[in-house]
């Protein structure tokens, strides 16, 4: 009766500790929202509810699965009461609840952590997640009594901010949750021991286990020291900088299955650029030669902290399902052609913006995707949709820009000029000065723009690398432009720096995120992958509209737009006023043709971003393969080493032979008769002998002493040598090393002949003699049975 009453009581203890631990661990999610109280306070009640229901249903002796089901039901009911429209879970109420969740999910997707208070609350998501985790912990730890497994949901809670925010959790939260977990472990163990047997305590008062027993002291000491080690030791453990391995860190951390998400284009850009492997994201079927510079999104506002997409106006009439307006500012005088595109997006590419051609004539992407009349980029108009798996058609506009027209362009209109030259107040003067200095002596905006592009690509001695942390704020800009310590970056820095500098000299500029160029996988089919994600500035010129520039060095972007080189041609030779098509693909200032410049840059090791051969995965695969081979071969090498060591030792060769024989028998799974005399052991051992291996050895050979008399004789000799060396004062039979080895070999061959093929295989690959820990002596001491030892004092310890 006592036992049955005390068992549920302990279940309550454990459940409460488990819930408390879960709650403390949930502090780790504090980084997701601006005010952690918004989910932590409701979770107190919610977790208490889960625990109470768990305790009650266990008390009612429901099966574990039913307990879990009941708790899940309670979570649902709780969610309905908290976020539904009525107390009863009617269909409408559930719908309202679901709407709350959807808005929470959207908020979580649209706002960078921490989600501010004025945004739609993500608390429902966190509360529900917390409840489910608490439920799992309760299920594993209390219902199933598997406390170590309950560590997994806790680890999930703990590592979520690490993986999602790439940011560590406070050591205090870690300490408290670790102690909570240890408390759960010790509670369960105490319960197990309590069930195991009757307690003989120091005095009766301690029998309840609440005294100041040394047991509790030890528990505390062990738990506290392990936790302290866990907090302080990582400081001493260096974390490898695997960027040396060509962005390997990103590749490992990202996980190869992770989808490419584009929600905030710029912050996602770098991550996707350096992802471990190059995964195709979309395909375009078009007759257009080399379709490049595909738009995904436009960044129009420079806040000082970052370039952001700014606002979008997406009325229903602007569905991306039909003709588009003329590109902004492009005059009718610009000659143009249209080409049809068929776009197919892979399932792993999730973006809230739809990839489009550089200039769009018309699109057929459905009502859910709409364009902004000003930026003309296409984004999702409805919550919960993204680009994954989308197929659509588009008509691309291919204009022929003339450098001369741009050079002759007048001042931009106010509605373009004012917003697109806006810079934050804290924009540093040094950058303005640099822009002025670089463009000094250039008479027109167009020439200034070309000078800026040339500055980034060649004159400024910039280096392309994905090393620097992502960032395009003012501080990042200043350090990127610093002559001594900076001038390293990737397309994000180049694009935003050029756009900012263009704005500082009053040229309207914006930043585009998109795909640079694809790879031709079939005639007229182009495939774009993660490595093709790119960013570049677009500058506005009257009558031409927004035209792109390419400040990123040739290592990444081999060619520049043709109109930026036209000018040079015209300058050097006025006799050639028109565009020479053969020069269109030439880099602006590269001394060599495009192809060689591109490949040499790649060979120079700009992190192998554009390298065709995937060295990193190959190296990793080879390394893993090598490791596996080593692991596979290690046991047999250990075994051979053990044999060599035995024979080499200066001890008695007979003992070495005996030990070797014993190891061989253990390997083959033949039970070695422990604690017998050599002679007795040998007589038992020879029962496992079989005829030497031959081609017609059956799978289960016949064993016994008579099957291999030669080996029996050899065994007899070994035993004799051993006996003489052990027991005889003057040994008369002392065979040499070589002879003993031969004898052992004969016996081992006989043992192998008597073993099943499976046992032989195991002996070769996983020899038991080196793999098993020899702890028999510690576990089972030889028991000397003394008959009728009444009243004899026996000792252990």
């Amino acid at each position: 009766m006592m036992a049955s009453r005390s068992a549920p009581a302990l279940g309550v203890h454990l459940a409460v500790v488990a819930a408390l631990t879960t709650w403390i661990t949930l502090f780790a999610w504090g980084g997701f929202v601006a005010s952690p109280g918004s989910y932590l306070n409701p979770l107190v009640g919610a977790l208490a509810l889960v625990v109470a229901v768990g305790v009650l249903s266990r008390w009612a002796r429901l099966t574990p699965l039913l307990v879990l089901g009941t708790q899940l039901l309670v979570v649902l009911v709780y969610a309905n009461v908290a976020w539904g429209s009525s107390l009863l879970p009617t269909l409408d109420s559930l719908r309202a609840m679901w709407a709350t969740f959807e808005s929470a999910i959207t908020a979580a997707r649209e706002f960078a952590a921490p989600v501010p208070d004025n945004a739609p609350s993500v608390a429902p998501l966190l509360i529900c997640g917390g409840m489910l985790c608490g439920l799992l912990v309760d299920f594993f730890a209390v219902t199933l009594r598997r406390v170590p497994v309950a560590g997994l949901p806790l680890l999930m809670i703990y590592s979520l901010p690490v993986s999602a925010l790439d940011r560590s959790v406070s050591w205090l939260v870690f300490c408290l949750s670790a102690l909570g977990f240890l408390a759960m472990l010790s509670l369960q163990e105490r319960d197990r021991i309590g069930r195991w047997g009757r307690t003989l305590s120091v005095d009766e008062g301690d029998a309840l286990g609440f005294g100041t027993g040394t047991g509790n002291r030890h528990t505390l000491a062990i738990g506290a020291s392990a936790t302290a080690l866990a907090v302080f030791l990582p400081v001493l453990i260096p974390t490898l900088d695997l960027h040396l391995l060509g962005g390997g860190a990103g590749g490992l951390g990202g996980g190869n299955d992770r989808d490419v998400r584009i929600t905030n284009p710029m912050t996602d850009l770098r991550r996707d650029l350096v992802l471990g492997e190059d995964r195709p994201l979309m395909r375009v079927r078009t007759s257009q030669p080399n379709p490049e510079y595909l738009h995904i999104s436009l960044l129009t506002v420079f806040t000082g902290q970052a370039w952001t997409p700014g606002g979008r106006d997406l009325p229903a009439r602007q569905a991306a399902d039909g003709p588009f307006p003329e590109p902004n500012g492009m005059a009718d005088t610009v000659p143009r052609t249209t080409v049809e595109w068929d776009v197919e997006i892979m399932d792993n590419f999730r973006s809230l913006w739809l990839p489009t051609p550089e200039y769009v004539d018309s699109m057929s992407a459905g009502e859910d995707w709409r364009f902004d009349s000003e930026t003309l980029d296409v984004s999702a108009a409805r919550r919960g949709i993204d680009t994954a798996g989308k197929d659509y058609g588009a008509s691309s506009l291919v204009p022929q820009f003339s450098a001369q027209a741009m050079a002759d362009a007048g001042a931009p209109p106010v509605d373009i000029g004012a917003p697109y030259t806006e810079l934050p107040n804290e924009f540093p003067q040094s950058v303005r000065d640099l822009a002025t200095e670089v463009t000094a002596g250039q008479p027109t905006d167009y020439q200034k723009a070309v000078a800026l592009q040339q500055f980034f690509r060649r004159d400024g001695k910039f280096r392309y690398t994905t090393e620097p942390p992502p960032g395009n704020g003012v501080q990042d800009l200043v350090s990127f432009l610093d002559k001594d310590t900076g001038r390293e970056g990737y397309c994000e820095q180049f694009a935003t720096a050029m756009a900012a500098m263009a704005r500082s000299i009053d040229i309207p500029a914006r930043v585009v995120v998109g795909f640079l160029s694809g790879e031709q996988v079939a005639p007229d089919v182009w495939e774009y992958s993660t490595r093709d994600l790119h960013s570049w500035p677009e500058l506005y010129f009257e009558d031409s509209g927004w035209v792109k520039f390419e400040p990123t060095p040739s290592g990444r972007a081999p060619s520049v737009p043709s109109y930026t080189t036209d000018r040079l041609v015209q300058e050097s030779n006025d006799a050639l006023p028109s565009t020479d098509s053969s020069l269109t693909n030439q880099p602006s200032n590269a001394p060599r043709p495009t192809e060689s410049a591109g490949s040499s840059a790649a060979a120079d090791g700009n992190n192998g971003q554009d390298d065709g051969f995937p060295w990193t995965p190959v190296l990793w695969t080879l390394g893993v393969l090598l490791l596996m081979v080593v692991l596979l071969l290690a046991p047999r090498f250990l075994r051979q080493a053990a044999t060599k060591r035995r024979w080499r030792t200066d001890g008695d060769p007979a003992e070495a032979a005996w030990a070797e024989l014993r190891a061989s028998a253990t390997d083959l799974g033949v039970a070695w008769p422990a604690g017998r005399s050599p002679r007795a052991a040998a007589s038992l051992l020879q029962r496992a002998f079989g005829a030497p291996l031959g081609p017609d050895t059956p799978a289960r050979p016949v064993t016994g002493a008579r099957t291999n008399p030669e080996a029996v004789a050899a065994l007899g000799k070994i035993v004799r040598a051993l006996e003489e060396s052990r027991y005889s004062p003057a040994a008369t039979f002392t065979p040499g090393d070589e002879e003993l080895r031969a004898l052992v070999a004969t016996c081992v061959a006989a043992l192998e002949g008597g073993a099943t093929s499976q046992a032989r295989l195991r002996a070769t690959w996983l020899p038991a003699s080196v793999l098993t820990l020899q702890r028999g002596s510690a576990q089972r001491p030889t028991v000397t049975r003394v008959r009728s030892t009444q009243d004899v004092v026996d000792h252990v310890g």
Binding site: R198, V202, H218, A226, T239, A778, R787, V792, V793, D794
Partner: protein, 433 residues
């Protein structure tokens, strides 16, 4: 430390493995948060193993069983006195006394937080419905830690044996022959008058009357000798038990062998109480512990019952007859026999010729396998009678006292078979099938 590491439990090993993986991954990925988890998982078992492996405790155990010889179904008390002669151990000590499962559940004790000099006496009861000799012990000690990560096993070494003797029933007195003299009265008798020269002497024992000292012999031997005045002659009986495996049917407690042993024990007890020196002979020959010795009747039963407690089925097909050739076999022969074949005929004839008319209870062993006609004669009893034995057949439902009385009647006895309360032949609670 090494011992502690070897004692890591599956959970401990899993923690070390998971922690190592976590640390390696964390180092490769540069995630400090994961390193912490890994270090915690590795550190916990290692610290525990170190502390547990380091603890130096020394326990002393004294085990006492009273009584050491019990009849089946009777309880015996096992007293344990445990003392800690070393330091306070880390963790919890789990003590388990290894008791054969026949005797009941293994007693387990949890000892925690004991200091030097801690002493505790505990006792538990064992009880067996099966005869036999059981080793109680050794006690194992396992050190467990508060998190279940390490478990170190050690064991005491001594064991104490407990002998559980077969159940016996009281038998009615029947006239028995086979006494030394063959006269009607077979009780041991005091000396009749005799001359001093007839006197035999023995060594002086404490408590002997000084008036009985035989001075002449004492002078000759140099030690005090006294006259023996009690009867040196004995009424001797040989109890022959057929324990051949092939002569019996059934398994375990419900086998015919158990019935035979139980009957033999009852008869042995009965004969001893009537003053016979009883020796036990099985198919394997004479039992060394029950040779005819000079013992008082009441002390005589313990070795007999002990010998019967450990009788097991013999693989022999024929009886061992060496004991017959040691001349001077006389006395009463009582046999408890199983299935008999024609191959046994020479031995049985020889037995019959060897002494006075032997008695036999022979089991109709097939009745232990399934129902047989209760009115039919037992074939082996008829066979023995034809050889000149006085034999009765027995079936599972028969009562030993009435069978015994029946034997007496065969000998021309007079006692009414129904005068005593019937006692089942098979032990209670066991249904013969």
């Amino acid at each position: 430390m090494r011992e502690g590491l070897a004692g890591l439990t599956a959970r401990g090993r899993a923690f070390v493995a998971a922690g190592t993986t976590a640390v390696v991954c964390a180092v490769l990925l540069g995630q400090d948060a994961l390193t912490r988890v890994g270090v915690l998982l590795v550190a916990l078992p290692l610290i525990t193993a170190y502390l547990v492996g380091r603890s130096r405790y020394r326990l002393a155990l004294v085990r006492t069983i009273t009584p050491q010889l019990v009849t089946a179904g009777q309880p015996a008390q096992v007293q344990l006195e445990i003392t800690n002669e070393g330091r306070t151990p880390t963790g919890v000590l789990l003590l388990e006394d290894h008791v054969p499962y026949v005797l009941g559940t293994r007693p387990r004790f949890v000892v925690e937080g004991i200091s030097h000099g801690w002493n505790r006496a505990v006792s538990y009861q064992v009880r067996s419905d099966l005869r036999g000799r059981f080793e109680i012990g050794p006690m194992t000690v396992r050190v467990a830690d508060p998190f279940g990560l390490v478990e170190l096993g050690r064991a005491f070494q001594t064991t104490v044996s407990l002998t559980v003797t077969p159940r016996t029933v009281a038998l009615p007195t029947i006239p028995l022959t086979g006494a030394w003299t063959g006269s009607g009265d077979n009780r041991p008798r005091a000396f009749a008058t005799g001359s001093a020269e007839d006197v035999t002497v023995r060594e002086y024992r404490r408590g002997d009357d000084l008036r009985r000292v035989h001075w002449r012999s004492s002078a000759r031997t140099g030690e005090l000798m006294v006259r023996r005045e009690e009867q040196p002659w004995q009424s001797r009986a040989t109890l022959f038990l057929d324990n051949r495996l092939e002569a019996h049917r059934g398994h375990g407690a419900a086998s015919s062998l158990e019935t035979a042993v139980s009957a033999a024990a009852s008869i042995a007890l009965h004969l001893s109480q009537r003053g016979f020196m009883v020796r036990l002979v099985t198919a394997d020959g004479e039992d060394r512990n029950t040779l005819w010795h000079d013992r008082a009747s009441s002390q005589n039963t313990a070795p007999l019952l002990e010998a019967l407690a450990v009788v097991t089925a013999s693989q022999r097909r024929t009886f061992e007859t060496d004991w017959l050739s040691e001349g001077g076999h006389t006395g009463l022969l009582v046999a408890v026999l199983g299935d008999l074949g024609t191959g046994d005929r020479p031995v049985l004839t020889r037995l019959q010729h060897h002494g006075a008319t032997p008695l036999a209870i022979t089991l109709d062993v097939d009745a232990w396998l399934g129902p047989v006609d209760p009115d039919s004669d037992v074939a082996s009893a008829t066979f023995l009678t034809s050889l000149g034995w006085r034999a009765v057949g027995a079936r599972p439902a028969d009562r030993l006292p009435s069978l015994w009385q029946e034997l007496g009647r065969r000998a021309g006895g007079i006692v009414d078979a129904r005068s005593e309360r019937p006692v089942p032949l098979t032990p209670p609670g066991i249904v013969a099938r």
